[in-house]
Amino acid sequence: MPLTVTDVERAYPGFSLGPLSLSVETEVVSVLGPSGCGKTTLLSLVAGLDQPDRGTVALHGRPVTDLPPEDRGIAMVFQEGALFPHLSARENIAYAATDTDRVEAVAATLGVEPVLDRQATALSGGERQRVALARALAADPDALLLDEPLANLDAPVRERLRGELRELLADLGVPVVHVTHDQRAAAAIGDRIAVMHDGGIDHVGPPATVFTRPATAFVARFTGSTILTGTVTRRGDDAVVAWGGYPLAAAPSTLEPGTAVEVAVRPAAVGLGHPSADGDPATVVAGRVTQRLFEGDRHRLVVAVPGSDEPLAVTVSQDRRPIPAVGDRVTVHVPRSAVHVLGAGTQGLSPGDTTENP
C-alpha cells in the first residue's frame, strides 16, 4: 500500500482527530468533509507539519511518522498556493526543482510558461494554483497532498482546472490525497472518496457508491441526499420501508421487518409525474410544492407530502416545462434504486461497496 495512515490520533483543545486510518494506492483519494472536520489536520499529519499523538504514517511501507517534513518525500499544495511572494513564478518552481530541466517540464505540463517571469504576487488565482502545483511536481514527490486547491477560484477557472487536474493526477503515478468540502470537486477528481466527519472517516468508496449508497446519515446529507425515517416492512432484494403512509420500494437490504431505519433518497433520482412503464419500480407520492430554488442549471423543489412531516426534495432539469410553482399540487415518483436504507445489512447484497471505518 503506497500511503497508509494507521490509527492516527491528534487532540487539540476543543477538537480531536481520529483514531483514523486511510490507505491510498497509486490513485487519487478525495477527502470530503465540512470545514472543521479535520481534513487539513489530516494533511498536516501526513506531510509532517504536525505530529500525531498516536498512530503511524507510512509511505511505500517505510514509516515516516518520526521524519521531518523535508525527509518524507510528500509534497503539499496549500489552499492559497503558498507561493513565496518574494520570488517569481519561475523561482518558486526552481526552488523545489530537483534539477533545472524540470522547471521547464513542469511549467509546460501545467501551461504556466507565459507567466514564469511574473512575480508570484502578480498571478491570478488560477495561475497561482497552477504554479503551486508545478512547484510541488518539480520536487518529484513520492506522494502529493492537495488542500482545497480549487476553493478560492472563480467558477469558470475552477471548472476548467478541475478537469485538467483529473487527467494530470491520474497520470502522476503517485498516491494523491485531495482535500475538499465540495462534493463535485471530490467526485470529479477522486478515484475514491473518503467522507470525513468530526475527526473520523465515515465512508470510503468510489464516488458512485458514496453518493448512492452512503454509509451513514451524515454522508447521505453531506452528499445531497434527503433523509427519511421509517420502518422496514419487507427485507431482501425487493425491500420495502414504510414512510408516512407510503410503502417505499427500497434498494436491497437485509434488515429485518420492524426495524426503525433512516433511508437516503437522492433528489436527482426522484422524478416528477408518473414513472415510465419500462423503468425501475417506483413509489408514487402526491404532495404540494413548498419551496422552489433555481440553482443555475436546474430547479430544486421541496415537496410536502401528507402523512409525513419530512418533505421530499426533487431536482428538475431547467428545460422542463412547466416548472411547478410553490403551492402547486404535484405527483412524484421515487424509484427503488434511489431509496437507500442506511445502516448495517447491505454488505451481503452490494458487493461493490468498499466501506472502511464504518
Binding site: 498536516s44 506531510a47 509532517g48 507539519l49 521531518p68 517534513p69 523535508e70 525527509d71 518524507r72 518525500g73 510528500i74 509534497a75 503539499m76 496549500f78 492559497e80 503558498a82 513565496f84 511572494p85 518574494h86 526552488y95 523545489a96 512547484r135 510541488a136 520536487a139 497532498l145
Partner: protein
Amino acid sequence: MSHPASAREVGRPDWVRVTLVLGALLAVYYLVPLAALLVAQPPGAVIDRLATPAVQRAATTSVAAATVSTALATILGLPLAYWLARSDSALTPVVTAVVVLPLVLPPIVSGMLLVSVFGPASPVGAVAADAGLQLTRSLAGVVLAQTFVASPFVVVTARAALADVDPTLEGASRSLGKSHWTTLRRVTIPLAKPGLLAGITLAFARSMGEFGATVMMAYYPRTLTVQTWVAFQSLGLDAAFPVAVVLLVVALTALAVLTVLGTTPWDA
C-alpha cells in the same frame, strides 16, 4: 453640491482643521531646534572641532563599540526574536517582558545595575580582571552598556517582522524537501528582511546615542555622547555643539535608512 453640506456644518468645530493645527504645532516643535542647530553651527567650526584628536578618538570609540554591540544584539537577538514569533509557549509573555525591560528602564539605572554585576568589586568583574579583561572603564564596558540598552530594538522589531511571515510558507518549503535551516535562509529571512534591517539600524542608532548606562560603565574611553557631555560641562554649549552635530548626522542617516526600508517600527 457643497453648499447644503457646508450650510449644515455652520457652527460646528472643524475637526480636520483643529487636528491639522495641533499636529503642525508638534511637527514645528520637532523641526525648529534641528534647524536652529544646523544654522547656528557654521560648517567651518564643526569641521575644526571634528579635527581635534579627542573628538576623533571619541568617534572611533563610538563607531567601534556600536558596531560590536549591534553585531552582538543581532547574533543573540534574532534567534530569540524567531522563538518569540513562532512559539506558543506560556513563557513568551514573560520573556517579552524581560526583553522590553531595558527599554523602559532609565539608562542610568541600567548602568548602575551593570556596574554592580560587571564592576571591579563584583565577582564577574574580578574574574575578568584577573584574566586581563577590564569590564568597566574600557571598550568592553561601552559594548556591555550599549548591548544592554540597544539589543531590545533588534528583538522587538525582528519579532514583529518574523511574525508577519506566514508559517504556511515555511510549511510549504519544508514539504518541498528543504530543511529548516534552508527554509529560514531562503524564505523566512528574505521575507522579514526589511524589518530585520530596521531593527538592526535602530539598535545601531541607539548604541551611537547611548549615554546614561555608558557613562556609568565607562567614562573612559569616551564615546561621542560622553565627549559631548564633557565639552558642555567644561567649555559650554558652543563647544559641545559640533560633536552634537555628528550625532545628529548619525541619527538622520539611520532615519533615512529606516525610511528607505519602509518599515519604520512606529508605522506598524
